[in-house]
């Protein structure tokens, strides 16, 4: 087996195991010591580190943009896209004026494998696994849907109370260490201005809320920015996205990530559903990783640039 010796040799066009992604992250840190650092924000249920890459050009506690990929473990194209984003950030800094301006004032925080237990399980035991791996007392069914476990409308309609359901919300909000670790980090950081949680696959860009029909107070701005982001995304390969609030665009969903972040005061809270060829679902062929990442990057840049230019 060929093990890449640096991040230039990493194969971005193929799927990788958790250990390979972890090695990639360590290499990126080693190659860019003045810009990239690795923060371990906690541990998964099975004891794996929850790694966040911090891209920073200096300062202390700068305003920050959070991006996480693949909280539902079987969505491999998201973790693969996250890896590509990490390399893109270090490559484009100093070359792309917009990204350079952002990084000169703000930090970017990137959690590439948000649910490492689940991701490892998809490689070893069940490719279709999407939840965490924590056992549920009194049930033979394992795991919680980490996108129903946040303290935003937790337990309301739009999540299941059955441990055997794919949308099981868990026994209580933040019961999953993968969620609680982000909650603690976001609260202690206190200066995160945009939060983008990336999933696949339905080709959507969504903003709060999911648990209530009450519009977010910034809905008009979030809507316009979503439109700009998906227009930029479509400019590369013509991929068409829908956009809107979670509850209006898909269905009522309670306990979701971006509803919580928005209620914490992070105005630019979005959740992505990346591309869908309509033929493969979660088994998206590896040759679509880079196109997916490339087009998504344009939308991310739109959100990051808007956040940078509209401080609050």
């Amino acid at each position: 087996f060929a093990v890449p010796r640096n991040t230039d040799g990493y194969d971005y066009a193929n799927y990788h195991t958790l250990s390979e992604i972890n090695s990639f992250q360590d290499m990126l840190v080693a190659e860019n010591p003045n810009m990239v650092s690795k923060i371990v924000i906690g541990k998964s249920y099975e004891g794996r580190p929850l790694n966040v890459l911090k891209f920073s050009t200096g300062g202390t506690n700068r305003p920050a943009i959070w991006i996480d990929t693949g909280i539902h473990s079987r969505e491999w194209v998201t973790q693969a896209s996250g890896t590509w984003f990490a390399k893109k950030i270090v490559t484009d800094y100093g070359r792309d004026p917009a990204l350079t301006a952002i990084l000169n004032k703000m930090d970017i925080l990137l959690e590439i494998v948000t649910n490492p237990d689940g991701y490892a399980y998809t490689h070893s035991s069940n490719r279709m696994w999407r939840k965490t791996r924590k056992p549920n007392p009194g049930s033979s069914c394992v795991g919680v849907d980490p996108n129903r476990n946040w303290d935003a409308g937790f337990g309301e309609p739009g999540a299941s109370s059955s441990p055997c359901s794919e949308t099981y919300r868990g026994p209580s909000a933040n019961s999953e260490s993968e969620v609680k670790s982000i909650v603690d980090f976001v609260k202690s950081h206190g200066n995160i201005k945009a939060f983008v949680s990336i999933h696949s696959y339905s080709q959507m860009l969504l903003y709060p809320y999911g648990y209530t029909r009450t519009p977010a107070k910034d809905q008009a701005e979030l809507h316009n920015l979503a439109q700009k982001a998906i227009t930029d995304l479509a400019s590369m390969f013509g991929t068409r996205y829908t956009f809107g609030s979670i509850i209006d665009t898909i269905y009522q969903a309670s306990g979701t990530t971006v509803d919580w972040t928005y209620n914490q005061g992070i105005k630019y809270s979005y959740t992505f559903e990346l591309r869908d060829t309509g033929r493969y679902g979660f088994i998206l062929p590896a040759n679509q990783i880079i196109p997916t990442a490339q087009e998504t990057w344009l939308a991310l840049m739109a959100i990051m640039d808007h956040t940078f230019k509209n401080p609050y």
């Binding site: 087996f1 193929n14 990788h16 069940n126 490719r127 898909i250 869908d276 493969y280």
Partner: protein, 93 residues
């Protein structure tokens, strides 16, 4: 290792809200052990659902008896998973 021989992924298209509701009823039929890849939203959005081999006949009969259109998006999931694994191993080599 859990395998998915004979599992199919169906793409279901509702014509109206009545059919949408009938598709949503499938979510509650836990004996089918369905895995909704794309959930029920509106008539403009397809529903993708992974159906285990043991439920295929029942689910298809249910859909056909309600005159609900569907197509087979993935004929045998395990075949695709085997191809994916082979591709990864080949790339690693």
């Amino acid at each position: 290792k859990e395998t998915f021989e004979g599992h199919q992924v169906l793409r279901i298209l509702a014509k109206d809200d009545v059919q949408l509701s009938l598709i949503k009823d499938l979510e509650d039929m836990i004996q089918f052990e369905l895995d909704f890849w794309r959930g029920v939203t509106d008539v403009d959005s397809p529903v993708d659902v992974r159906v285990p081999f043991h439920s295929l006949q029942s689910v298809k009969i249910y859909l056909e008896s309600q005159n609900i259109d569907y197509s087979i998006m993935i004929h045998d999931l395990q075949v695709m998973l085997d191809e994916e694994r082979e591709e990864m191993q080949s790339a690693a080599r």
